[in-house]
C-alpha cells in the first residue's frame, strides 16, 4: 500500500493541453474521486499514474518512489477499465489468476488466492464461467477481483460503474466501498457522476480543461466551492453575480446579499455568491423578519414534484432560481404565486469572479 503524489504534471496532445500543471496528493489508503466533465483530463491523469502514458513535465511518485522510468508492469498498480477488459479467451478464474500466473506464483498459491478474491467479490461459484456468460455487474466484479488479487499498491478505476444501470450501480458502489475498506488500498476513482463522487470518496478532485479546479473532502467542496464551476458541477447551485462588498455582493439592482463563508474579497471587485437550492426557504409572504437573513421576492414559474421533495423554479429580476423543499405535507405553492425566498448568510458562499 502506498500513497501517490502527482506534482506539476502536464501532458499535451499536439497543441491541446490535456493536463495543465496538475498537483494532487493521494493519501495512503484513501478513496479519492476524480470528477470532471468529458474531456477534462481524468483518464489522461489516470493513465499517467498507471504508466500507459508519460507526462511531458512534472513528477509522479508511488509510495515515495519516483516512477518516471518504471514501466506499467513494474508499478504494481491495479486497474479497472470502463469496459471491464476481461480476457475473453480465459475463464473467470483464469482472468483473476492472470496477474499471479505471469508473476510465476505456484499453482496452489494461485488457486487459493483466486478463490479468496472471487469470494471477496461474491462470485466464488462462477470461476468456471467465461466472461461472456456473465452479467454486467458480475463482469465488473471479476475485473475488480482481477485487479486486487495481485495486492497492488494503488487501485485505479476509470468510470468502472458507468455501464451499469442505476440500481446495480448503487449496489456496486456499496460493494466497492466495502472491499476498499476491507483491504485498505489507496484508490483513485474516475467518474463523472457527482453523486457517486460525493457518497463514496474521502476526497474529491475536480478537473476542468486539464486543470485541477478544487480539491478536498466532499463536504468542503460542496459547502465551500471556490469557483462557480465547482459550485455548479458538484451539486446544484443558484449563482448571483455582482460587485463585492467585502462580506457579500451587491446585485445590479442594488439588492445586497450577505455571504458568511467563502473567499475574502476586497470591496468593489466582481464577485459571485452561490447558494444551494435546499438551503433556501420559500414562503408566501415575508412574515416576521428574521435577523440578518438574505431575502428576495419572486414568482413561482414551475414546480416539479419528485416524491420526497419538490423543486420550485422562481423567477426574479430575469433570473430563475431553484429551491428544493422537502415534502412534509405542508401546503404546496401554485405556479404563478408570489413568494419570498430566505436563506442565511452561512449558506451563502462568496466566490471571486472567474
Amino acid at each position: 500500500m502506498a500513497g501517490v503524489q502527482v506534482s506539476d504534471v502536464s501532458r499535451s496532445f499536439g497543441a491541446h493541453k490535456a493536463l495543465d500543471n496538475v498537483s494532487i496528493d493521494f493519501a495512503d489508503g484513501g478513496f479519492y474521486a476524480l470528477l470532471g466533465p468529458s474531456g477534462s483530463g481524468k483518464t489522461t491523469l489516470l493513465r499517467q499514474i498507471a504508466g500507459f502514458d508519460f507526462p511531458d513535465s512534472g513528477r509522479i511518485t508511488i509510495g515515495g518512489e519516483s516512477v518516471e522510468r518504471v514501466p506499467v508492469e513494474k508499478r504494481r498498480i491495479g486497474m479497472v477499465f470502463q469496459n471491464y477488459a476481461l480476457f475473453p479467451n480465459m475463464s473467470v478464474a483464469d482472468n483473476v489468476a492472470f496477474g499471479l500466473s505471469v508473476r510465476g506464483e505456484a499453482k496452489a498459491v494461485i488457486a487459493t488466492e483466486v478463490q479468496r478474491a472471487l469470494d471477496l467479490v461474491q462470485l466464488g461459484k462462477l470461476g468456471g464461467r467465461r466472461p461472456h456468460q456473465l452479467s454486467g455487474g458480475q463482469r465488473q466484479r471479476v475485473a475488480l477481483a482481477r485487479a486486487i488479487v495481485t495486492k497492488p499498491r494503488v487501485l485505479l478505476l476509470d468510470e468502472p460503474l458507468g455501464a451499469l444501470d442505476k440500481a446495480l450501480r448503487v449496489d456496486m458502489q456499496i460493494e466497492l466501498k466495502r472491499i476498499q475498506r476491507e483491504i485498505g488500498i489507496t484508490t483513485i476513482f474516475v467518474t463523472h457522476d457527482q453523486e457517486e463522487a460525493l457518497t463514496m470518496s474521502d476526497r474529491i478532485g475536480i478537473l476542468r480543461d486539464g486543470r485541477l479546479v478544487q480539491e478536498g473532502p466532499p463536504e468542503e467542496i460542496y459547502d465551500r466551492p471556490k469557483s462557480e464551476f465547482a459550485a455548479t458541477f458538484l451539486g446544484d447551485a443558484n449563482i448571483f453575480r455582482g460587485d463585492s462588498t467585502g462580506d457579500g455582493i451587491r446585485l445590479a439592482d442594488g439588492t445586497a446579499i450577505a455571504a458568511g463563508v467563502g473567499a475574502k474579497l476586497a470591496a468593489g471587485a466582481k464577485a459571485s455568491c452561490a447558494v444551494r437550492p435546499e438551503r433556501i426557504r420559500i414562503a408566501r409572504d415575508a412574515g416576521t423578519p428574521d435577523g440578518n437573513a438574505n431575502m428576495l421576492k419572486g414568482q413561482v414559474s414551475k414546480r416539479i414534484f419528485a416524491g420526497s421533495n419538490s423543486t420550485y423554479f422562481v423567477e426574479r429580476a430575469g433570473q430563475t432560481l431553484k429551491v428544493i423543499v422537502q415534502n412534509t405535507g405542508m401546503e404546496r405553492l401554485a405556479e404563478g404565486q408570489d413568494v419570498v425566498l430566505r436563506w442565511s448568510p452561512e449558506s451563502t458562499v462568496l466566490i471571486a469572479a472567474n
Binding site: V72, I77, G78, T150
Partner: protein, 287 residues
C-alpha cells in the same frame, strides 16, 4: 455462441441474400467438379471420341507408383513451409498494421501489402525470376555492395519456389490476422500490462490466443492452394520444381490424360480435407 444462435434464427430471412451465392457456387463449381469426379472413373475422356468404360484404374495408378506419393509428400512439405513463412512474415506485419500504425501510414503500408494481390500472377513470378537468376537483380545488387564476389543463383531451386509462393500468399495471412488483431481491444493489452505482464507475456497469453482464428483461417487459405500449386514451382523451380501440382497440370495440358489428372486431384482433395479435419480441433483448443 450467441452469434451462432442469432445466425440460426436469422437464416430464413437471410435466404434470399444467400441464394445468388449458392446458385453461383452450384453452377460454377459444383457442376464442373461433378463432371471431374465422373471423368476420374473413366478410361478415356468421352470428348475424345474413343470408346470408354468405367474404371478404378486412375486411382490405382496413384498407389501403384511410389512417385506420386513422394511428390504428394513433397507438396505437403512445401505447403507447410510456405504457410510457416507466411506466419513468420505476415503475423508481425499484421500486428504492426493493426496495433502500431495509425492513419495515413497504415493505409500506405496496407497498400504495399496487398499489392501482390492486384498484380498478375505471371508478372509477379517472372519478376522474381529476374531478381533471382544468376546475374539477375539480387546478384548484381549484392555484388555492387559486397567487397567480394559472390554468385547467388537462386533461380530453379527449392528456395526460389518458396520465395515466389510466400510472396504470392502472404497477403492472405496479413489480411486475416489484421482483421482479428484489429478486433482486439487495446484495453485488453493495457489490462495485461497493469497486471504485471511484460509485452511479450501479453503477446503470448492474450494476443496470440485471441488472434488464433485469423492465423488458422490464413493458414488454411494458404496451405490448400500451395499444396496444389504448379505455376510457381514450374517457373521458379525449373527441374527441381516437380511437385504434385505440376504433375496434375501435366495430365491436363501436356499428356491429355484428364481422367488420371482428375483422380490425382481428388486424392489431393481428400488428403487435404483429412489434414484440416485432424488439425481443426487441435487448433480450436489452442485458441
Amino acid at each position: 455462441m450467441a452469434a451462432a444462435t442469432a445466425s440460426r434464427s436469422g437464416l430464413r430471412s437471410a435466404l434470399p441474400l444467400l441464394a445468388p451465392a449458392y446458385l453461383w457456387l452450384t453452377v460454377a463449381i459444383f457442376l464442373p467438379l461433378s463432371a471431374m469426379v465422373f471423368f476420374s472413373f473413366m478410361t478415356e475422356l468421352p470428348l475424345s471420341g474413343k470408346p470408354w468404360t468405367f474404371t478404378l484404374g486412375n486411382y490405382a495408378t496413384f498407389f501403384s507408383q511410389s512417385l506420386y506419393l513422394t511428390l504428394l509428400l513433397a507438396s505437403l512439405r512445401l505447403g507447410l513451409e510456405v504457410t510457416l513463412w507466411c506466419v513468420v512474415i505476415g503475423y508481425p506485419a499484421a500486428y504492426v498494421l493493426a496495433k502500431v500504425l495509425k492513419g495515413r501510414s497504415r493505409e500506405a503500408i496496407f497498400l504495399l501489402v496487398i499489392l501482390p494481390f492486384w498484380s498478375n500472377g505471371l508478372v509477379r513470378i517472372f519478376s522474381w525470376a529476374m531478381v533471382l537468376r544468376e546475374g539477375g537483380i539480387l546478384d548484381t545488387a549484392l555484388n555492387a555492395v559486397l567487397p567480394f564476389k559472390i554468385n547467388i543463383d537462386l533461380m530453379y531451386s527449392y528456395p526460389a519456389v518458396i520465395i515466389g509462393l510466400v510472396h504470392s500468399y502472404v497477403p492472405y495471412m496479413v489480411l486475416t490476422c489484421y482483421l482479428t488483431l484489429q478486433a482486439i481491444d487495446d484495453s485488453l493489452i493495457e489490462a495485461g500490462r497493469s497486471l504485471g505482464a511484460s509485452r511479450l507475456q501479453v503477446l503470448k497469453r492474450v494476443i496470440i490466443p485471441l488472434s488464433m482464428p485469423g492465423l488458422v483461417a490464413g493458414a488454411a487459405l494458404i496451405f490448400v492452394p500451395v499444396v496444389g500449386s504448379f505455376m510457381e514451382p514450374r517457373i521458379l523451380g525449373g527441374r527441381t520444381g516437380t511437385f504434385y501440382g505440376t504433375v496434375i497440370e501435366d495430365q491436363f495440358v501436356a499428356v491429355f490424360n484428364w481422367p488420371l489428372g482428375a483422380a490425382l486431384s481428388f486424392i489431393l482433395l481428400a488428403v487435404v480435407l483429412v489434414i484440416l479435419a485432424v488439425a481443426s480441433p487441435v487448433l480450436r483448443r489452442a485458441a
